[in-house]
């Protein structure tokens, strides 16, 4: 039965747990990077702060796609397209925040 499971290409329980731990750790890291104390919340985040939050979010989405949705067993074209969509959105959002911080908009 276990051999048959491995042949399906689905991630094993150990991988599912380590992915979950990574996702939780990155969520907590994002909350720390966002400086949520009442005083810091009055001002915009520094570049490193919003970069870290967005990098963490993009990596989490990538892990959900590859492990939980098991996209790693699909063709390189599909895998690349989904991941490219996520990273392009994150880069555009990052650029908007960066431009706003620099007063370019």
């Amino acid at each position: 039965m276990r051999k048959a499971f491995l042949e399906t290409g689905r991630p094993a329980a150990r991988r599912l747990f380590t992915t979950w731990l990574t996702l939780v750790a990155l969520t907590l890291l994002a909350m720390w990077s966002a400086q949520l104390d009442p005083v810091s919340r009055q001002s915009s985040l520094p570049v490193w702060g919003f970069t870290l939050v967005l990098l963490g979010a993009a990596y989490k989405v990538q892990q959900i796609l590859l492990v939980y949705l098991n996209l790693r067993v699909s063709s390189a074209g599909w895998r690349g397209s989904f991941l490219a969509l996520v990273w392009v959105v994150m880069v555009v959002v990052w650029a908007a925040y960066w431009a706003s911080l620099r007063g370019l908009v």
Partner: protein
């Protein structure tokens, strides 16, 4: 689904699970991506107003909801693993836990809405709150639909039903992972 039927999906046949669900996932991702870009662009035009709106949100409550969905995603994946190994009872147990956490997410979200409305913060309050209610309510509708799909998979437990319903659930999880920092953390 036979090999012949899978081949009939053309390029989509290389995707794991039901190809129709992947079409839905892709279309939902594109719709939400457009909203995220629109939100970031609007925010860059008036960062002071958006920051002031964000100050009214509780980022810890949003974080709790993120952890609830991430954990439910793990349980959903474990349910698929259980049914692949032929253990229907264990699969249903994981599915029940997944739905329980999904319901907890809905309760937290509704409590959050109630608190905001009690403070007089409605979609008409500002541009930020229009986006906040639009994006989170649209996402919440997906969570409720996902719970319905999971309930159907609990009732009619099969590998295909599990793969299809949990794929939708992971998509709901994935969208929240992008939505949470955008609304609650980035400023």
């Amino acid at each position: 689904m036979t090999t012949l039927e899978q081949d009939e999906w053309g390029p989509l046949s290389s995707l794991p699970g039901n190809p129709l669900m992947w079409i839905l996932i892709l279309s939902e991702l594109l719709v939400f991506s457009a909203f995220f870009v629109l939100f970031a662009w609007q925010r860059s035009l008036d960062p002071t107003l958006f920051n002031a709106g964000q100050m009214q949100l509780d980022p810890v409550l949003g974080g709790v909801n993120t952890l609830l969905l991430l954990t439910s995603g793990l349980f959903a994946a474990l349910a698929v693993q259980a049914i692949t190994l032929g253990d229907v009872l264990r699969c249903r147990r994981w599915l029940a836990l997944t739905m329980l956490l999904g319901l907890a997410f809905c309760v937290v979200k509704l409590l959050e809405y109630a608190a905001k409305i009690a403070m007089g913060l409605t979609p008409e309050t500002s541009n930020f709150f229009s986006y906040y209610y639009l994006l989170t309510a649209f996402h919440l509708a997906h969570v409720i639909f996902g719970l319905g799909l999971l309930a159907l998979a609990y009732w009619k437990t099969s590998l295909q039903n599990l793969e299809t319903s949990t794929a939708f659930w992971h998509m709901v999880d994935l969208i929240w992972v992008m939505l949470y920092p955008l609304l609650y953390l980035l400023r």
